[in-house]
Symmetry: D2
Subunit: 263 residues, 4 copies
Amino acid sequence: MNSPDWSHRSFTAPFTATGRSALVPAPPWHYAGWLLNVAFRFDADAGVPLVPPAAGRPVGTGCVHFADWQACTNGHELLDPVLAQYRETIVVLEIERPGGDRGMYCPAIWVDQDISLLRGMLQGWPKKMGSTWLTRSLPLEHPAAAPLRAGTRLGASLAVKDRRVFDAQAELTGRPGRPLGFLAHPTLGAVGWPDLRQPDRLPDILLVKPDIAGRVGGDWHEASASLQHTLHPGEDIGLLGPLVAEDASAGWLGLTVTGARDA
Amino acid sequence: MNSPDWSHRSFTAPFTATGRSALVPAPPWHYAGWLLNVAFRFDADAGVPLVPPAAGRPVGTGCVHFADWQACTNGHELLDPVLAQYRETIVVLEIERPGGDRGMYCPAIWVDQDISLLRGMLQGWPKKMGSTWLTRSLPLEHPAAAPLRAGTRLGASLAVKDRRVFDAQAELTGRPGRPLGFLAHPTLGAVGWPDLRQPDRLPDILLVKPDIAGRVGGDWHEASASLQHTLHPGEDIGLLGPLVAEDASAGWLGLTVTGARDA
Amino acid sequence: MNSPDWSHRSFTAPFTATGRSALVPAPPWHYAGWLLNVAFRFDADAGVPLVPPAAGRPVGTGCVHFADWQACTNGHELLDPVLAQYRETIVVLEIERPGGDRGMYCPAIWVDQDISLLRGMLQGWPKKMGSTWLTRSLPLEHPAAAPLRAGTRLGASLAVKDRRVFDAQAELTGRPGRPLGFLAHPTLGAVGWPDLRQPDRLPDILLVKPDIAGRVGGDWHEASASLQHTLHPGEDIGLLGPLVAEDASAGWLGLTVTGARDA
Amino acid sequence: MNSPDWSHRSFTAPFTATGRSALVPAPPWHYAGWLLNVAFRFDADAGVPLVPPAAGRPVGTGCVHFADWQACTNGHELLDPVLAQYRETIVVLEIERPGGDRGMYCPAIWVDQDISLLRGMLQGWPKKMGSTWLTRSLPLEHPAAAPLRAGTRLGASLAVKDRRVFDAQAELTGRPGRPLGFLAHPTLGAVGWPDLRQPDRLPDILLVKPDIAGRVGGDWHEASASLQHTLHPGEDIGLLGPLVAEDASAGWLGLTVTGARDA
């Protein structure tokens, strides 16, 4: 489609000869952040409408991750951090894959920056915009610092289109925590793009799994937690019914995504 | 990929059995809005890096549209207008198509809502997030109303990642205005999605043209205008060099998009 | 406090010798906007905690105004409209003044721009930040335009700190509407500033009434409306109990505030 | 002004019988955060228009602080962190007080939450809204984590009304840093509120100094830094002329404000 002397150099739109404007540069993508993870139990059957059978079958456990990220490619984003920082809320459901293995599947995720929104969609994280807030642990003994020790309380929330969807409160127990949600199992996502030339046709979806390199951190701090979910007219997550918080943890995580593979 | 008894009903991610969560529902998409259009001249050669040769060749004219939209599908969005309203700044460049026809090509556009961001990408509008402000004409004679009559002054601005990119000031002349930019010629866009399974490969792009039905409005009001462009480290639009405002108009427009076709 | 050769020229902080940085310039303040007004009934006694007795006593009627404003002083704001435009949600309660007159009192209002926030506080409008959305009527016959005629449906919402507080839906009847809320009676507000040198002392409050000049518009369009209120942990408005929508109108309004007086 | 059986319990507006809605609760106010501090030199005379003579006289040094705060009163804000977290950019200028002592004076500060905006004004911090971004150091060895060690690079920016005002880049040296700006000297601010009943009269200003208790942290990490300032049409800070970065540091700080006193 391009002439010999002109080819675009953009990983994503806009497609220009320099590639500089592309919303998302090519991987590797480096992510480091602070997470509050709240594992929950729900009626496994209720999760079926949210998980393509080719991915697997919900087993009745899942996790909400509230994350405060810093991400970059070659590092220039850390010098202009509006390009690097974002917050997001991730829901993953544990599944039994068709072959019997366990995995996680992401049916819903909300973020607050465009770069992350499209970068996620490419990985099968079905991102939409949402407003996430998340208490941070600062290395200080002070009433506003929420330091990492037994008894510290943390909160988190998600709002989508000006409606609260999740509220979580957690209290650190002082014990080591478990890796929960996408930290425990490889996570699958579904990628698909409709073709407007056939507007009546829904897109085929492709199940992929990110290639992750260089994961660091993971000293999770156990917490007891409560989780409130409020129905939202534009979200299917309410189909899960009551979400019962079972376990929680908080901590820092770093990882690098280099691509994806069929899942 | 889906089992017989489960198929997703989502036009875009997330892909669920209800389709309710999909960020973008299927067309038709109805748009109505208030626009300030500033036509500009630039060095035609400078536009080459921004326009795929298969689309055509820049001829040295273009337009910045500042738009304050209301959009809906079946109308429910107008009852919860956080779903309907957004502002955007659109740049289009006039091109000579390979066969000699004139058209417009959109190399850059910035919007402030996720629904519009993805909906635009599907149509070949390479949307990223940006903050657009645009004085509105209210049907009042009052110092703050900017009524539609000779002498009224309007302003508009775009910021991307916290940096001003465009500033425009216009003064209504009291004369009818011309349709400018995408109002004058069919507009092409480039659609393409990278495949993370091949992260080193840039996406093929497809040139499409939206199918537009039911256009209303278009009583444009002529304005004299100035346009300031400030270089942005993440945007290629600066390659165009100086943009000289040549004509401007303001007014209301309604249109409906039903799909797209090859362009 | 200032030396003879240096006096600040700021109406509000910061206080500098030029006054240019002041968040709010001195009046006159010109406002023009589009409003959806929903009058409601409630238990008059329930409003007592929200209205200082010196202002008056609630009579059991009130109004929520959803407003999409453009405001300016000398007009420069209309050329850089991030300085001019904002949306807000206003609650006013009808009161019987100590002397028997009727008036309105504003116990709660939420806005999305800092200039308006402080400018309102100075007038006794107790503004906090909130996110207001409001369907606009555009002068087009189009599914997304919500034109001003019988049968058109409009929506509005308020969220405060990421929680929905109000949702309204309205349908234009095609008949003229009544002036409601602050459009019907002069509105009082309470002004007060604590002195941090006495942090245990609550501020004295002063009841004021804006001086309004040059009101234009007011061709209100009647609507039937519903109003939903959701309790918010940081707001007292829930003390009013159920709010029953009784009347509604939409239209444009322009007015100018030149100062205030004791009320 | 209030009747015996009704007194408002609000520290700030709105003034209600419960006080629950008040934008700012009474102190003590606890703050904990991550800061990047860039000390600069400028022409001392150029600072005179920004500093009331009663406060003192600029000596030609100052500091820009980029801060990512968590703040609370009784701690409930940490469980709903939209109430606790905000970012701000603080400019302070070193002054020689009339009696010869050194102090700091704050002529400009921009924040992104309403609670902090008003809370700051009460302390003489002349806050307006602005968008601050600030790279954070996470306790991980990862390309996106910006860990606290020699060679790590950090960035920060401020935008006001969609225009960049400050950009800073810093590189940690691995050496201990100095307390800079408001960390080095007590900081004065000017408090004043116009009275709309006399709209032609500018407010008297009162110089105050916060009462600070319980300061913790302060293990500053030295950095080399550059600072870019871009003129803004609505800000006086440009009067300072060129700002030459001289020193920089980053680290965590906690402090508690209990009130203020005359300065």
